[in-house]
C-alpha cells in the first residue's frame, strides 16, 4: 500500500457504516469441565513434569491467597489481593514462556512469580515489608518484583506497564535477544490511555511483546459493560493491526497453547500479539473490597463451577499423572509450610532507617543525607514514638 493515509484504497459509492460489532471474536477452549478434551481439540505438547509444575503452582497460589487474605483479616499484613479464578490464565501463560522473557504484571499475577521460582520466603518478606524484602519494604503488599527471575516490580498506577513493555521488548529486539516481554493487565486497565499508547507503539515499532489481558468481568465494582461496548478487548487488537486471540482463561491448556504460539510468532516476525483471557474474578477486588455490594451470590456461584484448578486436576487424573489422595495430602502440607513461613517473616525486622533515602537516586543527594540526619536526631529524642527504628540508630 502506498497511499500516505496508510489505509485501504477501496471505495464504495453508497453510504453505509461498518457496524461497531462487525468483529466478533471466538474463544479458544480445549478442555471441558470434566477434564476431557473437546472433539477436534488438539492437546498441546506438555510433558508430565511441566504439567505437574503448572498444577502445583496453581494450588500454591490458591493456598497462599487463602492464608494471606486471612492474615490481612487478622491485621497481620496491611493489604492483600487474590488471584482466585484466574490461576489458569496466569500459570498457563507463564509456563509457555522462556525463563528469560520479561514479565510485566499488573498485580494479580502471583502465579507467574511462583512459576519462575519466587520462593515462599520471598513472598512473605514482601507481604510483611521486612528488611529481607527485595523492595526494601517500600511498597504495599503484592507489589512483587525480582531481577533474577525477570519479573518487573509491580506498581499501583494502572496500565503504565503497557507502553513500558513495548519499550522493553523493542530493546530486547535491538539487542538481538531471542526473548519476548509478556505484559499482564486487566480489562479495566485497558481503558487507560496507556493501553492505546502501548499497543500502537509496539505495532508501529515492531516490538515482540505479548499483551495479555485478563478480562475477568469487573474492575473493582465496575462491570465490563460499563467499561466498554465493543467486543471485549480482543477486537481492539485488530484495530491496531495486531494479531489477536481470545482464550478461555479457566482452561489452562488453551491459555498455554495460545501463549506458546504467540511467543513463537512474536519472535519470528518481531510483532506484538494480543491475547484476551476470559475468566471471572471469583474473589473480592482486594482485602479492602466487598463484592456483595455490587454483584449477586448467584452469579458468583455460577462461575465457581467453572473452577480452573479442578478442570486441570481432572485432566491430570485422567492422564494418570496425579493421584487424588497424594494430592490432598500435599495440599495440607503446603498449608502448614505457608503458615510456618508466615510466622518467620512477621518476626523479621523492618528495613533500617537509612533505606528511607537510598535508591531515590543512584547515590543519596546531600539534601537527602541531611534530611536523614535530622530525622535520626529527632527519633533519638522521641524514641517511644518510633519503636520500630529507635533502638537501631547509631
Amino acid at each position: 500500500m502506498t497511499n500516505p493515509n496508510n489505509a485501504t484504497n477501496t471505495t464504495v459509492h453508497s453510504a453505509e457504516f461498518i457496524s461497531g460489532h462487525a468483529l466478533s471474536i471466538p474463544t479458544l477452549r480445549l478442555l471441558k469441565d470434566d477434564g476431557t478434551l473437546y472433539d477436534g481439540a488438539q492437546e498441546p505438547e506438555l510433558d508430565k513434569a511441566t504439567a505437574l509444575k503448572m498444577y502445583d503452582t496453581m494450588v500454591f497460589t490458591r493456598v497462599l491467597d487463602e492464608r494471606m487474605l486471612a492474615a490481612q483479616r487478622q491485621g497481620r499484613i496491611s493489604f492483600y489481593m487474590q488471584c482466585l479464578g484466574e490461576e489458569a490464565a496466569i500459570v498457563g501463560s507463564a509456563a509457555a514462556l522462556d525463563d528469560k522473557d520479561m514479565i510485566m504484571a499488573q498485580y494479580r499475577e502471583q502465579g507467574a512469580l511462583r512459576y519462575r521460582g519466587f520462593s515462599l520466603e520471598q513472598f512473605m518478606n514482601q507481604l510483611f515489608s521486612n528488611e529481607k524484602d527485595l523492595g526494601k519494604g517500600r511498597q504495599m503488599p503484592v507489589h512483587y518484583g525480582s531481577k533474577d527471575i525477570y519479573y518487573m516490580t509491580v506498581s499501583s498506577p494502572l496500565g503504565t506497564q503497557i507502553p513500558q513493555a513495548s519499550g522493553y521488548a523493542y530493546a530486547q529486539r535491538l539487542r538481538g535477544l531471542s526473548n519476548v516481554t509478556l505484559c499482564y493487565f486487566g480489562e479495566g486497565a485497558a481503558s487507560e490511555g496507556d493501553f492505546h499508547a502501548g499497543l500502537n507503539m509496539a505495532a508501529v515499532h515492531k516490538a515482540p511483546v505479548l499483551f495479555f489481558c485478563r478480562n475477568n468481568g469487573y474492575a473493582i465494582s465496575t462491570p465490563a459493560n460499563e467499561q466498554f461496548v465493543g467486543d471485549g478487548i480482543a477486537c481492539r487488537g485488530v484495530g491496531y493491526g495486531i494479531k489477536t486471540m481470545r482464550v478461555d482463561g479457566a482452561d489452562i491448556l488453551a491459555v498455554y497453547q495460545a501463549t506458546k504460539m504467540a511467543r513463537e510468532q512474536a519472535l519470528a516476525s518481531n510483532e506484538p500479539i494480543l491475547l484476551e483471557s476470559m475468566a471471572y474474578r471469583l474473589g473480592a477486588h482486594s482485602s479492602s473490597d466487598d463484592p456483595s455490594g455490587y454483584r449477586s451470590k448467584e452469579e458468583e456461584d455460577e462461575w465457581r463451577k467453572n473452577d480452573p484448578i479442578s478442570r486441570f486436576r481432572l485432566w491430570l487424573i485422567n492422564k494418570g499423572w496425579l493421584d487424588d489422595a497424594a494430592d490432598t495430602e500435599q495440599t495440607s502440607q503446603l498449608r502448614q509450610e505457608i503458615l510456618d513461613a508466615l510466622k518467620v517473616a512477621e518476626k523479621v525486622a523492618k528495613p533500617g532507617i537509612e533505606h528511607m533515602i537510598t535508591d531515590v537516586y543512584a547515590e543519596p543527594t546531600q539534601q537527602l543525607q541531611q534530611q536523614l540526619n535530622e530525622l535520626k536526631a529527632h527519633i533519638k529524642k522521641y524514641p517511644d514514638a518510633y519503636p520500630v527504628t529507635a533502638g537501631r540508630i547509631d
Binding site: 524484602d133 523492595g135 522493553y168 539487542r175 490511555g193 496507556d194 499508547a197 543512584a362 543527594t365
Partner: protein, 326 residues
C-alpha cells in the same frame, strides 16, 4: 573549538553520545528523517539508522512509557517531547514511574539511562501552549534530575552529563535561544557537573539568581544596575533545578546579604519559592532585605501581552533597586 548555536551544540552532543555508546537512542515526534521540528536530531537517522533514531506515533504518554521500558532494559533513550507544554500527558509516566522506578523496586530495576529533552520557555509569541516553563512541577518529584542550560557550551556539556547520569533527567532547552545563542563549543566530548550552580559574575552587593533563557535578562539588569547605580551584582546560573546547589547560593548570599531570583514561570508555586524559603532559613541573620522574586504573573502565558508578562530586565532592575534601598 567551533562556533555553534544551541541547536548545533545539542545535535553535536547527541551525535557524540550515539557514536560512543550503541545503547543511546533518540526518538519522539518528527525526530526521525526530518530531524525534529527544531532540527535538534538532524542527520542522526541517516548516520545511526532508523532503529536508533525514529519517529513515534503522536502520544506523549506512549513516548515516556516506551522510554521507561527501554531504559529498564538497560538502554539509554533520549526521548524528545516536542514542546514542554505537551509533557503533561506524560506526567504520570514521569512522576509515578520514571522517578520511582529505582526506589520502589529496592534497586532491582532502574531507568537511570533515561533523558527527556524538551524545548521550554516563552518570548517567541507562543501563547499558552508554546511558552510554558514547567520545571517546578518536576522539582517536587524525588527521583528526577531537572536541568536547564543557558548557552551552547552549557547545553552540550550538560546534555552529555545527563545521558551519562545514573539517574533519569528532564532536560529543558530554552527554545528562544536555540538559534539566538551562539558561542564557542569544544568539538570533543565533555561533561559539565549536574547539581552544581555556576557563578557567572562575581559581585559584592546583591546575589542575582536565574537559569536558562533568563540568564541573558538578569545579566542585562545587572549591567543596568552597575552603570546607573554602581550596584555590584553577583550572578548565579542555577543550571540544575533538582537537585539544586544550595551551598553555592548560600555562600553568595552570606557575602552579599541580598537575593533576587528571576524565573519565567508564574510566581505561585514557582521554584523561586523553594529557593527563597531555603535561603531565608540558612542565611536569616545575614539578610539585609527581603528576598525578591521576579517571575511571570499567576496567569496562563498570554499572547498579545507577552512583553508585559515576561520577567524582563526592567522588572529585575527594579527589584535590585528595591532590595538595595530597603
Amino acid at each position: 573549538m567551533a562556533k555553534m548555536n544551541m541547536l548545533q551544540a545539542i545535535n553535536n552532543a547527541l551525535d557524540l553520545a550515539m557514536a560512543k555508546d550503541d545503547s543511546v537512542l533518540c526518538f519522539g515526534e518528527d525526530v526521525g528523517h526530518f530531524g525534529g521540528v527544531f532540527r535538534a536530531t538532524s542527520k542522526l537517522q541517516e548516520k545511526y539508522g532508523r532503529e536508533r533514531c525514529f519517529n513515534t506515533p503522536l502520544t506523549e504518554q506512549g513516548i515516556a512509557g516506551f522510554a521507561n521500558g527501554m531504559a529498564a532494559q538497560g538502554m539509554k533513550p533520549v526521548a524528545e517531547i516536542q514542546f514542554a507544554d505537551y509533557i503533561f500527558p506524560a506526567f504520570d509516566q514521569i512522576v509515578n514511574e520514571t522517578a520511582k522506578f529505582r526506589y520502589r523496586s529496592g534497586n532491582e530495576f532502574n531507568v537511570g539511562g533515561l533523558v527527556f529533552r524538551t524545548p521550554y520557555g516563552g518570548g517567541i509569541a507562543g501563547g499558552h501552549y508554546h511558552s510554558q516553563s514547567p520545571e517546578a512541577y518536576f522539582a517536587h518529584t524525588p527521583g528526577l534530575q531537572v536541568i536547564v542550560p543557558r548557552d551552547p557550551y552549557q547545553a552540550k556539556g550538560l546534555l552529555l552529563a545527563a545521558i551519562n547520569s545514573p539517574d533519569p533527567v528532564i532536560f529543558f532547552e530554552p527554545k528562544r535561544l536555540y538559534r539566538a545563542s551562539v558561542g564557542e563549543v569544544p568539538e570533543a566530548y565533555y561533561e559539565l557537573p549536574i547539581g552544581k550552580a555556576e557563578v557567572v559574575q562575581e559581585g559584592s552587593d546583591l546575589t542575582l539568581l536565574a537559569w536558562g533563557a533568563q540568564m541573558e535578562i538578569v545579566q542585562k539588569a545587572a549591567d543596568m544596575a552597575s552603570e546607573k547605580d554602581g550596584i555590584s551584582c553577583e550572578i548565579i546560573d542555577l543550571r540544575s533545578i533538582l537537585p539544586w546547589d544550595v551551598d553555592t547560593v548560600v555562600e553568595s548570599v552570606l557575602k552579599t546579604g541580598r537575593l533576587v531570583i528571576n524565573h519565567e514561570a508564574p510566581l505561585t508555586g514557582g521554584f523561586a519559592g523553594e529557593i527563597a524559603a531555603t535561603i531565608q532559613q540558612q542565611c536569616f541573620l545575614h539578610l539585609e532585605s527581603p528576598i525578591e522574586r521576579v517571575c511571570g504573573l499567576d496567569v496562563p502565558y498570554p499572547l498579545a501581552l507577552e512583553k508585559e508578562y515576561i520577567a524582563d530586565h526592567l522588572k529585575t532592575y527594579e527589584a535590585i533597586v528595591r532590595s538595595m534601598n530597603f
